[in-house]
Symmetry: C2
Amino acid sequence: MDTRTGLPVVGMVGGGQLARMTHQAAIALGQSLRVLAQAPDDGAALVAADVQYGDHTDLAALRTFAKGCDVVTFDHEHVPTEHIRALAAEGVKLFPPADALLHAQDKQVMRERLGELGAPNPAWRPVAEPADLVAFGDAQGWPVVLKAARGGYDGRGVWLVDDAAQAAELATTLLAGGTRLIVEERVALRRELAVQVARSPFGQVAAYPVVETVQVGGICVEVLAPAPGLPEELAVAAQQLAIDLATALGVVGLLAVELFETPAGLVVNELAMRPHNSGHWTIEGARTSQFEQHLRAVLDYPMGDTSLAAPVVVMANVLGGQPGGISIDERLHHLFAAEPGAKVHLYGKQVRPGRKIGHVTVLGDDLADVRARAARAAHWLTEGTPA
Amino acid sequence: MDTRTGLPVVGMVGGGQLARMTHQAAIALGQSLRVLAQAPDDGAALVAADVQYGDHTDLAALRTFAKGCDVVTFDHEHVPTEHIRALAAEGVKLFPPADALLHAQDKQVMRERLGELGAPNPAWRPVAEPADLVAFGDAQGWPVVLKAARGGYDGRGVWLVDDAAQAAELATTLLAGGTRLIVEERVALRRELAVQVARSPFGQVAAYPVVETVQVGGICVEVLAPAPGLPEELAVAAQQLAIDLATALGVVGLLAVELFETPAGLVVNELAMRPHNSGHWTIEGARTSQFEQHLRAVLDYPMGDTSLAAPVVVMANVLGGQPGGISIDERLHHLFAAEPGAKVHLYGKQVRPGRKIGHVTVLGDDLADVRARAARAAHWLTEGTPA
């Protein structure tokens, strides 16, 4: 407990933009997020009062960090499962627990468990040797999607494999490098959806409206809330699936379920157990932001209202463009002049091509209008030009 | 400029809840507010990464603080005018400028200037000796309102004086103690209103909707946005008055104009040149919060959209009740269970009777419902009981 405020202390391992925005939400709850960052220029370290430095793979650093925290949670999935188990055995309260988080860390574990639970998987199999991949592709039809079981994000650790020759070469190289692999059919998708739920230790679960995520090159560029034209029964099915998974896996905190919408129904793509890019729209677009909700969940507070704050909400990611050109400060001037209603979130990062440096959110009534405004606003920050 | 982010550095003198919530807004703009606090348990010092310590009346401390800030602004009105002038003469950019801020620091200066500008003052006069007060009361009718020209807030520095005998005694004591005084007629008010505007160095001004502020014992307990049943022409007149004052006084940043609504029209009560309690509703209730707007103004960014985010917004202050009883943490549990849509803002303060320790905001469609929910939510935090 923080004796200055009488409130429990939440620690977050990782100092990126998710910790940065969680700290922002924590302030309203009377909290000051304790952050384990790697460097003073990490997004959260730039803005939080209570920062420690250390590596998230270093058990001793994690142990020191956890001292005095009432609960420890995570900005990313990269803390080794065995470290989380070791600290839990020492009495540290960590959410999500290791047994839940494992399903967001390891795609093979996730696929196996989803299969046991009867949740909608694509066709898939583990790839122990190149022949497994070739056989799967020959049976399912090429191309197929090869994935590293651990460590991938934003399109990294995912390869589209076109034929048997490419499969044999790629799998040989990756397996020789020690990368554990699974392969999935390339799903005939209409579009990608995502749904966030939050679950408390008590077991309360609250679901956000289902959103559409628009991806380019494996990176999410835009989120539309609610998912346009999604039939009510599919929306309810997606929310129910996420609630069931959160409960079955024992998640505490946020669970983001990324989904493919296919002609045959929904298929689970990925799981994340933390605030997620597909939920950034909730900061202004829902009555309770995913960051506040994650804090409420790990603190075992009752969940907040997940209703939409406007009929249409669009979030557009800001990916760093080429360095040079007009400064970020000048870009903000132009953007704010052009779009007084656009809500900007910058993560305190240096611009590098393709790097997520922030996002913008626009609320309104008309999808085409809101989407165009969000795209223009993001373009100002990305390129320093309106379009 | 912050070389890590390429963005200008904003410094705020004072580490209270206004700096705390300004830092929260700064995070989204890619900023990290630099705060000059007095103690490590100041509300903003608990949450901000970039904190210096020093007294706001110490010119040397202010000078050190201002080094490396692109612009300096204020959490309160207590920085001596001569210090602001001295720093400005040394090239520091301070907003609002001393010549503007003086009107929020000194009630006599404010009344004189409002008179020159033709803005609606109550009947008033300076009180240089007790006889001035007695004569004013005899002429205007008792009771009258005696005010310290400087330093009052939340009902402090204001005395309701019932008759000539009390007037003579009180004025004698206060004047002997060195308190400069003015007296004002006791206005026959229907209710109190407030309007916020923000003005940039460029001269852009943006006005928020007019709100009703409900006071108990000189302390604001509730803000209703928009002011219920306010005729459109009065609302426009109030916004125009605030815009004209911001422009005439050369305000940069937020200006809050507190007004009396009387049978004869609007009368100016007080001015504040910073984010203000009467604007806390804007955090969730307007598209741009007053804290973001203040930052945009002092950074000379174009102003954000001031539209309401819902038809009815009610903010209720949380005043510390008697110490003891259930903890703030437990109160939060009960409040969140009872009101999932209530937005809580705690300031990191120890509970003391009557001390503002936070506020809650509720959005909705029906005034009576929203107001009841906000009151219940505030009551949970104040007293640890629902009503």
